[in-house]
Symmetry: D2
Subunit: 358 residues, 4 copies
Amino acid sequence: MNTFGKKLTLTTFGESHGKAIGCILDGVPAGLVIDETFIQSELDRRKPGKSKLETGRKEDDIVEILSGVFEGVSTGTPIAMIIFNTNQKSKDYENVKDLFRPGHADFTYFHKYGLRDYRGGGRSSARETAARVAGGAIAKLMLRELGIEIRSGLCEVDGIKGEVQDFEYAKRSKMYALDPNKEAEQKAAILKAKEAHDSVGGVVLTTATGVPIGLGEPLYYKLDAILAEAMMGINAAKAVEIGDGIASSHLKGSENNDQITLEGFKSNHSGGMLGGISNGDTIIVKTHFKPTPSIFREQDTITTHNEAVKCNLKGRHDPCVAIRGAIVCEAMMALTLADMALLNMGKKMEHFKEIYTR
Amino acid sequence: MNTFGKKLTLTTFGESHGKAIGCILDGVPAGLVIDETFIQSELDRRKPGKSKLETGRKEDDIVEILSGVFEGVSTGTPIAMIIFNTNQKSKDYENVKDLFRPGHADFTYFHKYGLRDYRGGGRSSARETAARVAGGAIAKLMLRELGIEIRSGLCEVDGIKGEVQDFEYAKRSKMYALDPNKEAEQKAAILKAKEAHDSVGGVVLTTATGVPIGLGEPLYYKLDAILAEAMMGINAAKAVEIGDGIASSHLKGSENNDQITLEGFKSNHSGGMLGGISNGDTIIVKTHFKPTPSIFREQDTITTHNEAVKCNLKGRHDPCVAIRGAIVCEAMMALTLADMALLNMGKKMEHFKEIYTR
Amino acid sequence: MNTFGKKLTLTTFGESHGKAIGCILDGVPAGLVIDETFIQSELDRRKPGKSKLETGRKEDDIVEILSGVFEGVSTGTPIAMIIFNTNQKSKDYENVKDLFRPGHADFTYFHKYGLRDYRGGGRSSARETAARVAGGAIAKLMLRELGIEIRSGLCEVDGIKGEVQDFEYAKRSKMYALDPNKEAEQKAAILKAKEAHDSVGGVVLTTATGVPIGLGEPLYYKLDAILAEAMMGINAAKAVEIGDGIASSHLKGSENNDQITLEGFKSNHSGGMLGGISNGDTIIVKTHFKPTPSIFREQDTITTHNEAVKCNLKGRHDPCVAIRGAIVCEAMMALTLADMALLNMGKKMEHFKEIYTR
Amino acid sequence: MNTFGKKLTLTTFGESHGKAIGCILDGVPAGLVIDETFIQSELDRRKPGKSKLETGRKEDDIVEILSGVFEGVSTGTPIAMIIFNTNQKSKDYENVKDLFRPGHADFTYFHKYGLRDYRGGGRSSARETAARVAGGAIAKLMLRELGIEIRSGLCEVDGIKGEVQDFEYAKRSKMYALDPNKEAEQKAAILKAKEAHDSVGGVVLTTATGVPIGLGEPLYYKLDAILAEAMMGINAAKAVEIGDGIASSHLKGSENNDQITLEGFKSNHSGGMLGGISNGDTIIVKTHFKPTPSIFREQDTITTHNEAVKCNLKGRHDPCVAIRGAIVCEAMMALTLADMALLNMGKKMEHFKEIYTR
């Protein structure tokens, strides 16, 4: 239940304010050069406290590899990675110990398990996504060998849509904005909400280029279905679109079909897949994030003892979780594609024979 | 790869024009009264040819239970069900034998597997969803014992949005329309497209009421993530929203949070879940379907021998796949919730002990 | 729970006296020529009633492929196979309807599920193994392409050990005896027990030759562990040995180690695996079967209503289940090795890259 | 592939001479009191260097819980545990860096993965079993709540069989001997082999009492099959017997059947299960271990560069791996039974309803 993937599996552990978070990534083929600097750089992109658009909580998020790598190369055995928690302020949560923060998982965890680790949301905290980014970084190293590149950025913030998709710009942008012309407006919306002790939503566009034809395992491990699962499972995600997504449902079949020529598909409404299998075109996924539930305004709630109370949060929180969510979207897409690439091996008898009979 | 679920698993088989399609549903608790009439009635709701809004292809879709039921009751062993194909017209597909129909999975199946069953899309055909509906019907029988009810209907067709959600009306509507006031307009749009040899998209709203708190297994088998997978995996689905979905990303945190009172949540923006676990409120999911890719207009495509040709389809097809998709959405939600209800058992030590020590 | 394997999965259904038994075999690579005559011939080897050493119950066991094969070749989609039950005599079981036959699963099924299909043992009947043999036959076709051959035979009956292992002889022997010199004595023991309304145990030796180095996925899907699971899961199996097995525990390390030369291993005490991975040598597994629990002597038992009664069985039963068990052992080894061969693809980066970048 | 279990899952990581080994145990119900002292005491029973019957390598094997436990109680989230490696002497392995030690997994790992961590066997080392013991300790805490007790001991060493099964004695015995009268003889055999730079095999008997009726999930997750997998997967295991095991195959059906009375089964030849489901009687499993492959005698082998050489091992090794194997057998049985106990919940509709409708 804490494992993602079938042949490349990421199993994570850890709570927001426990000793450490981490993961076991199993299924990485032997012989992959493990670039630890790259893994750390991915974590640095996700780590909090880089700008005033993010939570003030600073975590160094130093990742350490415990197993599965020998002399700089993967050995085919499970790769365990650990990130020790260093900047927890559990005291910030003393006052919410007995109440359910609106919009958070406090209520459901308490009822499902009969108890909960109230410090910073415990297991339900987005802090866990650091482990996904660590695992995703290794998946990216695998995909890089196939020429697959994954990129992301914010195409919308607080309802302000970008029109341009400049992934190179997004890399440098502090809020991973895709449209340089809209960034200032989007940024202002975030800061305005922050000042009002409130928060805003946003939309992350994630793409993969260089994806070979054939990834995705119908009928119940389709590429689109698993990407939807992967993205919807990220904290605060509320909607996922593949390709044109919702816009597709407003088109006629004659407009939406991607006709085919000898040079390739004439268009890419489908977002790079047909029947749940990649078609060689760019994979396109949009993930819609709700506004951060942690806001600094008084809200109604109840306690674990069933009393009506007012909830007044303290602490440090992102005014727009979609920003750091972008890096997590990349990680989840990388894990999904790498898993699919491994699963797709052995779909043709000729490959099955070849690998054993040469 | 052809199995959905973890503790209640549906494994399906069959191609559009093969001998039969069917499924094995494993994990149904022993002692459930299996109402075969109900299962058949669910298949009847999905079966084609009921009105001119659907494909003219008529399939009786008579389901037969082969195992797992004894004297009208489930025995705890796998329940196999079979539906023989009776109205295949493979000849309709002779002319597309060597070419890839735009918008279909022909291209990707051919490249993934190196060959394909071209008759009616083979395995990629939506015909397979009859097996899901059969499995989903039994899941509904399980859920009914807990007081859970699943309902669906079309809330949008060809961009024409309904404003009312009348599920009782939808049950009687030939196009499962939720808004009686919009039905005529929506129907006209479908028929207009059909006359123009074209097709339209639509949106299905699916809900579940009576869901207990606690369903959903974080962090990688969350209720929202698995519902997203379940819905996105249905043929022609391109987007999935949970609760307010995309609209959530346009709200402020203070607007989107569902505050809590002693009487329950003040609102249900979340769609009945928090942190991927059901919160006791109504589960709300929207699934967006693209227009049917099978249209009767000339389109550009290429052949399996890499020649550019014109594609002119024959046969019988739904002008709006979202209609029958609604029944499939219900089935997938039923399978997901029943699986989650089984998985959730044993999350508390008190239940674990109780079952064995009384 | 009714599925065996990870990448090549066999899911079976059906009860002894239901309408049909069958299976879905998922994961077969596309492009395998499916020799239906061979599949049927494997079922014929397992089917009952071929000699007086077996149950008198005659089942034709005609297998029919429902999906996954097109124009004689696998398509990469699930292969469903069905065997209709034709010779059930449910009346034979009327008198055991309410009691637990000693040595059978009646007692445990009744208590686990709260009810049971009492006809012929229902799901717990060895009849289900016909579905394994059907699935195993296709696995054998896959393995044949790699040059792997699986063979079996009885190396012991009622404590009478064979000394010779003549697999060619076993194929022709009505009791699959490996030692032509011991066959008469072993046969006499079976018939003597049969006349005494009793039954005997036996031991099946199963081997695989031509197995490439590298099959088996440590640490929790090791080849030896999964073969042990596969064999122990066969009805009436009570012990499994790999290679020298129990004899190994009587040797010194210096005697038991298989030393290595440029020509290969000097000996094969290990049974063809090291660390749970195949080493290229012959895979050797022994499966020990208890005597058939169905005997025609009066036994003490209790009823479902908790009354002490005498159990007097009717019907037709094998006096030595190990005989037909041999064919099931082959099937389970074939399924295991084919699964392992698929799983092993993608263990080296060079293969991962190669398949996608040429 | 590095995960054991279905609902209670143990995923392990780590190599003999890496930074750390450890595990993630997922699926523990919330509300279990986690007795860390007990977990450590289990590791102490397995740790090396306690007597001259074991390897001289001393490892403190201090286990640290990283997650999943809050205020001394399990929270229902994954429990990660880590054991840092402290006493590695990688230099001991410099001389075997390029060669394959006979009887070890060096040969197969190298060929499967194309490279290997040669230090102490890397991932294939029995050192990993410390992680199993940590996970098994928590499984034991779960089972204890149900009144299930697991015990083990050596019933045979170097062919010297014990006749008595005194589990209380075994707990105090340095070699976990079950028969006090045979211990001296067995011990002498071990020491004699050690002096001769050789090693011996042994047999571990593992039992579980207090097991409720109904554990085991037919047909492909049977209790006997999974116990066979669990035990055969332990390093150096070569055979597994359930109940009377091999002896069963020498009996007649009339002798082997466990007849039933109102007071229970008259005998327990079956080892506490029927049809792969526990019958309420004592679970009995025997695991046969080969002699330690690490011996200090010259052996023939080849190098990774395909040259014939002599292998002369250095380092510190157990002369009889079965001794410490006993503790691992207990852990694997505990993990199996706890998993089965969780899986068995929800097999009856009455339980399914009850948990949600009270």
